[in-house]
């Protein structure tokens, strides 16, 4: 197909994803708002008041970037993994496979949908946070770049999960046993500087630490890691995972026999 045709196909896939997100808004947009409100009430207000300052900020202000990032990670990953696996399970992924839609268009369309859901939920969580505290913006460009890169990285990761998944259990294992623990241990609720040296060192092998820290730097101006390292790592992850997604699409893993 020519460039105009590819653009139409891309808009079709991304548009279908957005339509799906809005059609099932009760599953896609409302739960994060409720969960994050509870986090802010319990950890921010009720417990946070007794914890005191963290890295020089009230505890509720400190956890805002981590909670927004946690929502973006979970929702960009969750969107693509459930949507793409659903299309495999119901076999309507074949609609695209039998058409002349290039692989990169399929991938970009699904990733665009996942990133949009991540950003929508991020905006909702931000709105919830603003009910509890005043949100600052220390470095808008780093904030936006971190948000987008994180959403893209986890969209690619979710796509890989969906490509390999054969049953619904397979799309629940990674979020439950990998994503959630890494997120909670990635400095959402604490500064890794509070950990004993060994565990602080181990934490630096957790990629989510770099995303949360970079986003916290964007909002508050404090970070557990060097910003340059964090941004470079996210970029490298995005390129590697994107390349692997294209490799799987070319091979037809889980799609073509």
């Amino acid at each position: 197909m020519n460039a105009a045709g590819n653009w139409v196909a891309l808009k079709t896939i991304a548009g279908r994803e957005v339509h799906r997100i809005l059609r099932i808004w009760g599953q896609t947009l409302v739960p994060p708002a409720i969960t994050m409100t509870l986090y802010f009430v319990i950890f921010g207000k009720m417990i946070g008041g007794r914890i005191g300052a963290m890295d020089g900020f009230p505890y509720i202000d400190f956890i805002v970037p981590g909670l927004i990032m946690m929502s973006v990670i979970q929702n960009s990953y969750g969107n693509i993994v459930s949507s793409f696996f659903g299309s495999k399970f119901q076999r309507y992924v074949e609609e695209m496979l039998v058409a002349p839609t290039p692989n990169w268009v399929i991938l970009t369309g699904y990733v665009a949908g996942a990133v949009l859901r991540g950003l929508m939920v991020g905006a909702i969580v931000l709105a919830v946070a603003m009910c509890f505290t005043s949100v600052r913006l220390h470095h808008p460009l780093i904030t936006l770049a971190t948000l987008l890169l994180t959403a893209v990285v986890f969209a690619f990761a979710g796509f890989i999960n969906a490509m390999y998944a054969r049953k619904f259990d397979d799309i629940a294992i990674v979020p439950t046993f990998v994503l959630t623990p890494l997120t909670y241990l990635g400095g959402v609720f604490y500064s890794v500087g509070l950990l004993p040296p060994f565990w602080e060192y181990v934490s630096h092998f957790n990629p989510i630490l770099y995303m949360v820290s970079a986003f916290r730097y964007g909002l508050l101006g404090v970070s557990d890691v060097a910003i340059g390292t964090a941004m470079s790592l996210m970029l490298v992850f995005a390129i590697l995972l994107g390349a692997f997604c294209m490799h799987l699409l070319r091979r037809g893993t889980g799609l073509r026999s």
Binding site: M1, G5, I13
Partner: protein, 315 residues
């Protein structure tokens, strides 16, 4: 001579579990043809169709669609093909109109044009009144017609129908065939697989029979039917006949008390048969040719292939 709509050369497919589904299929479907691809369950038809629409990756061999090699000119070749699969494969939570418009989008057709075409094909397939209802609520026949509308929205030059009428009632089947015959007359090449052999006999001009991953027959429908050396007639009687008299010189079968079937060598004069029947006290009200001629040939060819594995293996 024009380029073939579909040219398959020595296509082989061995699945990862070792099953050899295609064992060197070669096939030509000319432009404008209405081509039947028949075979028993497990013969390799779906693997063959899957290979044509790239859902199955062949182990070796080549497929050219209107001269475009599927391996090297994938996008151009796929743009020429429309597929109606055997299994339902659309999002049951979407509306028919959206499904057809989105499918056009995957072929790069702009949304405004896609909407016009979606309406055109949904109307032609009598689905327009259901265009904006959730497709899960459609009847089985409607879902099949929706898949035809979806396959037609990019106006393919080659339409592949994989058992499109399975489980569909006769009225809807007829309307589907009327639609497909019309688009064939308008120039679209059609490849059909079906288990309703009388459909293939009535609609298709050329035929290939696949069994155990090989083509066991590939000829025109007329040639194939001419291989029959016998004809079967169904006789509706004036009065009930409880036993068949021996004096009639042909093999008669009693279907029920007022219906007989008779096999006669092709070209036999029927006057003699009627004279024998009349003298035996059997009076015929009407006569019709039994329409399962293709079925007899099909079963004969498949049976022959299955009882001669050594010959098949050497082919």
């Amino acid at each position: 001579m024009s380029t073939a709509a579909l040219a398959i050369t020595d296509l082989r497919k061995t699945y990862s579990n070792g099953v050899e589904a295609l064992k060197g299929i070669s096939l030509i479907v000319e432009q404008g043809d209405f081509f039947a691809l028949l075979g028993p369950n497990g013969a390799g038809k779906s693997t063959l169709i899957g290979s044509i629409c790239t859902l199955v990756t062949p182990s070796s061999g080549s497929i050219r669609v209107f001269g475009h090699d599927l391996a090297t000119e994938r996008e151009t070749a796929l743009g020429c093909i429309g597929v109606v699969p055997q299994e339902l494969n659309f999002n049951q939570f979407e509306k028919p109109f959206d499904i057809v418009v989105n499918q056009a989008g995957f072929y790069g057709i702009a949304r405004n044009e896609a909407k016009v075409r979606a309406e055109k094909y949904l109307r032609q397939l009598s689905l327009w009144d259901k265009a904006h209802t959730i497709s899960r609520t459609l009847s089985g026949g409607m879902k099949r017609r929706l898949m035809i509308a979806r396959a037609m929205v990019h106006e393919p030059r080659l339409l592949i129908l994989d058992e499109p009428t399975a489980g569909v009632d006769i009225e809807i089947r007829r309307s589907m065939w009327q639609f497909v015959s019309e688009i064939n007359r308008a120039g679209t090449t059609v490849v059909l697989t079906t288990h309703y052999l009388e459909e293939a006999e009535q609609l298709c001009r050329n035929i290939a029979i696949v069994d155990r991953g090989r083509i066991v027959e590939n000829t025109s429908m007329r040639n194939l039917l001419s291989q029959l050396d016998r004809e079967t007639f169904v006789l509706d009687l004036v009065a009930p006949c409880n036993s068949i008299p021996d004096s009639v010189g042909v093999h008669l079968r009693r279907i029920d008390e007022t219906t007989l079937e008779v096999d006669v060598p092709k070209g036999t004069e029927l006057n003699r048969l009627f004279a024998d029947l009349t003298s035996a006290g059997i009076h015929v009200r009407s006569l019709r040719n039994k329409s399962n001629r293709l079925e007899e040939l099909f079963l004969g060819l498949v049976e022959r292939n299955q009882t001669a594995p050594a010959k098949g293996a050497a082919a």
